[in-house]
Amino acid sequence: MVSQTVTDDRVSLTQLPRGGRGRVSGSTLDPKDAQILRAMGIRPDAQLEICRMGEPCIVCVQGSNGSTCRIGLSRRLAERVLVSPSG
């Protein structure tokens, strides 16, 4: 489903440290889960930040308008979301 920069630096969302940021650059989710997450804002190129690590974790989806939306994600989903770390 995704997206422009498919690079080698992609990591699973669960590999980001707390406070770590990354851009969504792919996923290995099953299509139904992917649809739901995408509708919730975890869509290609979305900027994510890890607010709480662990199971489940909390991900901040950062809108370009400075808004943040927090989503609680189980590890099974989070580890299938691939991100390109952005420091």
Binding site: Q35, P56, I58, N65, I71, L73
Partner: protein, 660 residues
């Protein structure tokens, strides 16, 4: 391009839409907006063919003509393969309409000002349907505080429909909203169809209409609160603390109005008794209607407080954190964090709880949630818990509270273990993982909480005024008929009383009282209900239940709270001094003079009522929601079997320990 020509031009002669669908993402303040528009003019029913709750409200937009608002469930997308999304599509298409509403001739799309990009996606999907529309940008006040600016005219230009900025919380922009609802317009532009393009379109629209501070300033308060509330250990501790506080407040505060209601119905009964001539009408009114309804309405304060406090908690954003933190705890039992809200709702009533289980995305998770939801102590059990804990610990509120909490804990534990058993046997397999939005923390809205409370209270009172009243009358009739000859012993007592010197009226009164009691017991024994109870009492005898309690247990199948009513009607014949229901039941005696409610019987009853499936409507809904009567039968057999076995163990253990 289609021109918006569906409405006449002159605003003064506009006919308002007869029915408007309200849609949007979850957590955009749709319910607050609905409440502010409709206030008390609303009712809750179901979307036909589903068990999804449908809230309808009425608002006068112009003159006396009322427009019906249909509050759709909050969804992240109209195009998902989830039951809520499908339902929204069907309502917008006019193929599913809740009773009392017309198919919507317009849609109001509510979006969150602070989360505009994501919200624009669903707005685009809705606008593609090309029905008269209005976009409402809500929570404009909090967005403004965060430096977010939304250009309404520009947004209106991009979307091709009118746009209003409002704050449903403060009421800001509502005059403009009401005016705009009079003339929703068919979109003059069509957003793209494919999701990729739609997302790009949303970004582009936002770039034109929104502006925000450069830096994405993190919300420090939310960060700190989340750190505590979602902490694996501290979070669970806080959850336990908050729930304990909730129930403590309910008990503490509800006690006063409960006393008043008890007193009012005792007075009413007394007045009716003294005003009406003796006979069937008086008995029907006093023993059937007043005693029955009074015994149910007494729990209204607790129900109101529960919904009031839960609504406040939900509004703060805490409940989502609770679901998050509970996910960890529920997972080992084969339930998801999504099951938290259905299970919490089941503490009010299993019906909305089982219906709420539709929000659980995974089928096996959902079935497990539906199966165990009725184990949660619903408000219909509260009357029974209150009665039995009061009987077990008279004048000791602290112990009552402990026993009460114990009942809730037992129900939850039984539910969790049952879920585990189900997931290891009939519902084997991996479940859908959690994805749950954690909304921004906010001060709760008193208005929303009060309206929710009012709505729930109305439903409960209606139930008390119809079904429970009918059951009270039927039970009274079954308990009163057929009339039997008074027993020989009471005839003799009356003869003795009449032979006593009028100067010793007290002694005569005692004898006639004793005769009254004997006759009441005699007629109860040979009534229809008495015979039914007699026939089935051997089944319940090992649990310590006599004929009267067996009748109570059987009658509870219509609605559990009927137990107290049944017992009140059964023993009210002995209540000759106008005392309240509790006092009458406290003194209830069997035919042999031994108390009905001994400690071991009360404990066994308490365990039975926590665990047993005794609610016909729940079984009906389970069958419908789970997709087959076999699930309802399984639920019935499992819950009643477990209740019977555990109540038996409790009773026999207490007897073995020498507790009466």
């Amino acid at each position: 391009m289609d021109a918006p020509v569906t409405q006449p031009a002159d605003p003064d002669t506009l006919a308002p839409p007869s029915s408007i669908a309200l849609l949007g993402n979850p957590n955009v303040g749709k319910t607050t907006l609905f409440n502010r528009l409709c206030a008390l003019r609303q009712k809750t029913s179901n979307f036909p063919g589903t068990t999804q709750e449908a809230r309808l409200g009425w608002v006068a937009l112009a003159g006396d003509t009322e427009t019906c608002l249909i509050d759709l469930p909050g969804v992240y997308s109209l195009e998902l393969d989830l039951s809520e999304s499908k339902l929204c599509r069907r309502v917008l298409d006019g193929t599913t309409i809740p009773p009392g509403a017309a198919p919507p001739d317009a849609q109001v799309i509510v979006v969150d000002a602070a989360n505009l990009i994501r919200n624009l996606v669903i707005a685009g999907q809705a606008l593609r349907r090309r029905m008269p529309s209005l976009v409402v940008v809500n929570m404009i006040d909090s967005a403004r505080r965060r430096g977010v600016h939304v250009d309404a005219p520009a947004l209106s230009e991009c979307l091709g429909v009118p746009v209003v900025l409002v704050s449903a919380r403060s009421g800001e922009g509502f005059n403009a909203l009401r005016a705009a609802m009079l003339r929703p317009e068919i979109p003059s532009r069509t957003p793209p169809e494919s999701l990729d393009e739609l997302e790009r379109w949303a970004d582009e629209v936002y770039a034109l209409v929104g502006s925000a501070p450069e830096s994405s300033r993190r919300d420090r308060l939310t960060d700190r609160l989340d750190r505590a509330f979602t902490h694996p250990v501290l979070g669970v501790g806080l959850f336990a603390l908050i729930m304990t506080g909730l129930f403590w407040v309910i008990f503490r505060l509800a006690a006063y109005p409960m006393d008043w209601i008890d007193m009012i119905f005792a007075t009413l009964g007394g007045a009716a008794e003294s005003l009406l001539p003796a006979g069937i009408l008086r008995d029907l009114l006093v023993d059937g209607v007043i005693a029955g309804v009074g015994a149910t309405l007494i729990f209204l304060p607790q129900i109101c407080l529960l919904f009031f406090l839960i609504s406040l908690l939900e509004d703060t954003g805490y409940l989502a954190r609770a679901a998050f933190v509970i996910d960890r705890l529920l997972r080992p039992f084969g339930l998801s964090g999504h099951a938290f809200v259905p299970l919490l709702s089941s503490h009010a009533c299993a019906l909305p709880g089982i219906m709420a289980a539709r929000a659980v995305p995974d089928r096996r998770d959902r079935l497990a949630t539906i199966l165990v939801a009725p184990f949660m102590s619903c408000t219909a059990r509260i009357p029974v818990y209150v009665l039995l804990t009061t009987l077990l610990f008279p004048e000791r509120p602290a112990m009552q509270a402990v026993a009460f909490t114990g009942c809730y804990a037992l129900g939850i534990l039984a539910g969790l273990i049952s879920s585990l058993v189900a997931r290891r046997t009939i519902l084997r397999g991996a479940s859908r993982p959690m994805a749950l939005e954690l909304p921004t923390y906010r001060a709760p809205s008193l208005r929303t909480a009060l309206l929710t409370t009012y709505d729930r209270a109305k439903v409960f009172v209606r139930k008390a005024g119809t079904m429970i009243l009918a059951i009270s009358i039927v039970l009274w009739w079954m308990g009163e008929y057929p009339h039997t000859e008074p027993p020989q012993q009471s005839i003799e007592l009356r003869e003795q009383a009449s032979a006593i010197d009028p100067a010793e009226a007290g002694a005569a009164l005692e004898l006639t009282d004793e005769a009254d009691r004997l006759e009441a017991r005699h007629s109860a024994r040979y009534s229809f209900l008495g015979r039914l109870g007699e026939g089935l009492s051997p089944v319940f005898a090992p649990l310590g239940y006599d004929r009267q309690l067996t009748i109570g247990v059987l009658a509870s199948f219509a609605a559990r709270e009927v137990f107290v009513t049944t017992m009140a009607v059964q023993v009210v014949g002995t209540d000759d001094d106008g005392e309240g229901v509790f006092d009458a039941l406290k003194g209830a005696r069997r035919d042999d003079g031994s108390p009905v409610f001994t400690a071991s019987t009360s404990w066994s009853l308490l365990v039975y009522y926590v665990l047993a499936m005794q609610c016909l409507p729940t079984l009906v809904v389970t069958a419908r929601e789970a997709g087959g009567a076999r699930w309802a039968f399984l639920q019935l057999a499992w819950m009643c079997g477990l209740a019977y076995i555990l109540a038996l163990i409790v009773r026999q253990t207490l007897l073995a320990m020498g507790v009466a």
